[in-house]
Amino acid sequence: MFEVYENLADYIVYTTFGLQKGERLSETIHFIIYDTLKIFTLLIVIIFFISFIRSYFPLEKTRKILSKHKSIALPLAAFLGVLTPFCSCSAVPMFIGFVEAGIPLSAAFTFLVASPMVNEIALGLLFSLFGFKVAILYLVFGIIVATVSGYIIDKLNPRNLIEDYVFELKFGESQIQELSFKERLEFAYHNVKNILKKIWLYIIVAIGIGGFIHGYVPQDIVENISKNAGVFSVPLAVLIGIPLYSNAAGILPVIQALILKGVPIGTALAFMMATTALSFPEFMILKQIMKPKLIAIFASIVGISIIIVGYLLNFIL
């Protein structure tokens, strides 16, 4: 599929630069050129495609769908969380809006986990860098973490740990107009442009790390580190990931380095989940509607679910 890029990289490295095939430097440069072209192509296609789908699921519509299907709201919230664009700055209005529409608290919490964690950037990057299998695993296990967390938090009866005004506010009729097909394409185009503007440097760094390890680090060293990765690496990765505030792209060079250094994929994905799903700035935002105790419960349950998933993935892969 990317033969053109392979040939182009061949041409640049061996013909233009006149480097010898099989040497470390030339292999590293070749890897970086090829990977950069391949990854940016995949990213543009994937982010455009998912953004286009996402234009059909603005937060207000998701709220409407969930309020109509309350009996299956919990799994549905996780699924729609993937499709609905989310900004941590919308966390408070989203939570209040869901509650006001009579959507169960479990589903509101589930959405709060799924939406930031599984998104077009995360999926696009994982697919481009690590392939289809890793991206799908992230998607499936992300949905599971979100659903289970929402279910457990609800069972702990969090009602009295949520500020009263959340249950008193009334929402007006939404005055938002449906987008036209052209506007959806524009939305997707703008999204690709804005996201790439934000993440290109991180991706280049990640590819650079990959290229260096590809060319200069012998395979047996990588395998050795992999064998020595301790059993506590998963909880440690999650604990480090929770307070960190980063989107999927910012964390990517670290993930790339970890995986190429031989850290198991489950551990690396758990780290990425913890970083994107939970962060201190988000806790500060949630403080407007939740007591600190509930935020602590929320973070613990999501954190523990991610740790379990990390172990599971390491076991499976």
Binding site: S88, G172, I176, F187
Partner: protein
């Protein structure tokens, strides 16, 4: 005089951006308007919206969320009735 409200949420970069763009347009084009930034979830609820920022001119909802329109479109949104 027009009343322009940018309804925002805390920690929202795009809200700041819209507020700055609108303020600049109003100033540079000499539009007779008062521009105000409002951070209040009640205001969002009033319009049945959960995303930010909102551009409201004389009580009418003109734009919701991201991406933020280009300055020319924003100027038209402010001027149309």
């Amino acid at each position: 005089m027009k009343e322009i409200k940018i309804i925002s949420s805390s920690n929202c970069g795009n809200c700041e951006l819209l507020y700055n763009v609108v303020s600049t347009i109003v100033k540079s084009k000499g539009i007779d308007a008062k521009v105000e930034k409002v951070i209040d979830v009640r205001e969002l609820a009033k319009y049945g919206v959960m995303r930010t920022p909102l551009l409201v001119v004389n009580g009418k909802l003109k734009h919701v969320g991201t991406p933020i329109p280009d300055p020319q479109t924003i100027e038209e949104l402010i001027n149309q009735d």
